[in-house]
């Protein structure tokens, strides 16, 4: 049995990214789309931390980038939820197909 290497973590990150993309593409609930974005950001973070362990000279940088991504994801979730709640108050729905007022 082989050891756990960088490939396994990269494959898991790719799988999480594909799941997040599918979530963004198929869900029509705005909060479901937000969950897909969280999945994509987590996939990137898995890659960063795995590279911090397995790539030489990247031990500190990978963790620092992962922490920055976590903070950015928290801020993004806060602003996106504020926008979604505003949209819900004005339109009484969270279906993103109804948000077509800017369509030309």
């Amino acid at each position: 049995m082989m050891d756990v290497g960088l490939t396994h973590y990269l494959l898991l990150g790719a799988f999480l990214f594909a799941c997040g993309l599918l979530c963004i593409a198929t869900k029509r609930n705005a909060i479901g789309i937000l969950m897909g974005v969280e999945l994509v950001l987590n996939a990137a973070n898995v890659n960063f931390v795995a590279c911090a362990k397995y790539v030489p000279g990247f031990a500190l940088e990978g963790q620092v980038f992962a922490l920055l991504v976590i903070v950015l994801a928290a801020g993004e979730a806060a602003v996106a939820l504020a926008i979604i709640l505003n949209f819900y108050n004005n339109h009484a729905t969270v279906d993103v197909d109804q948000a077509d007022e800017l369509k030309g």
Partner: protein, 173 residues
Amino acid sequence: MSLEVVLFTIIASATGLSAIAVVVSRNVVRCAVWLLFTLVGVSLLYFLIGAEFVGATQLIVYVGGTMVLVVFGVMLTAQRQFLQIRIRAQEWIVGGTLAACLFGLMAIVSLRLGTPRTAAATDHMPGAGPIGVGFTTTYLLPFEIISVHLLVVLIGAAYLARAKRKAVERGSP
């Protein structure tokens, strides 16, 4: 089989299955619960790698903060007819094909990138102390930028919430 292989297999499969469940479950509350399991699984992977500080931050910020925010959003917007929005089969086909193609592409890249590296480059990962020193010396500019970004997010979220309340007051005579 070593303990690391067993632990990685269990945690990675649980994380992947939870991610699939996030995609396929139609109730948005169940989506949130499966996303919670996915985030906890990812933080356990960080602990397995040896990055304790990143894992703890993931638990505190994601599981403690962002998930509570998402659950509050679900509760505030969950009406009966919007809790389960029907998805057409056509959307599943197009989105699934796109995601499968992208996963295949990234799997090829991962296999090429990761094959020479099976041994860990460092014996022990730097903990909270070296990360803190790095944030105040080498990575001071990204740290400051992200601090200002958090301030902007705080002001923006407060402004959006306040504008909403004004509109409601104006709308009601």
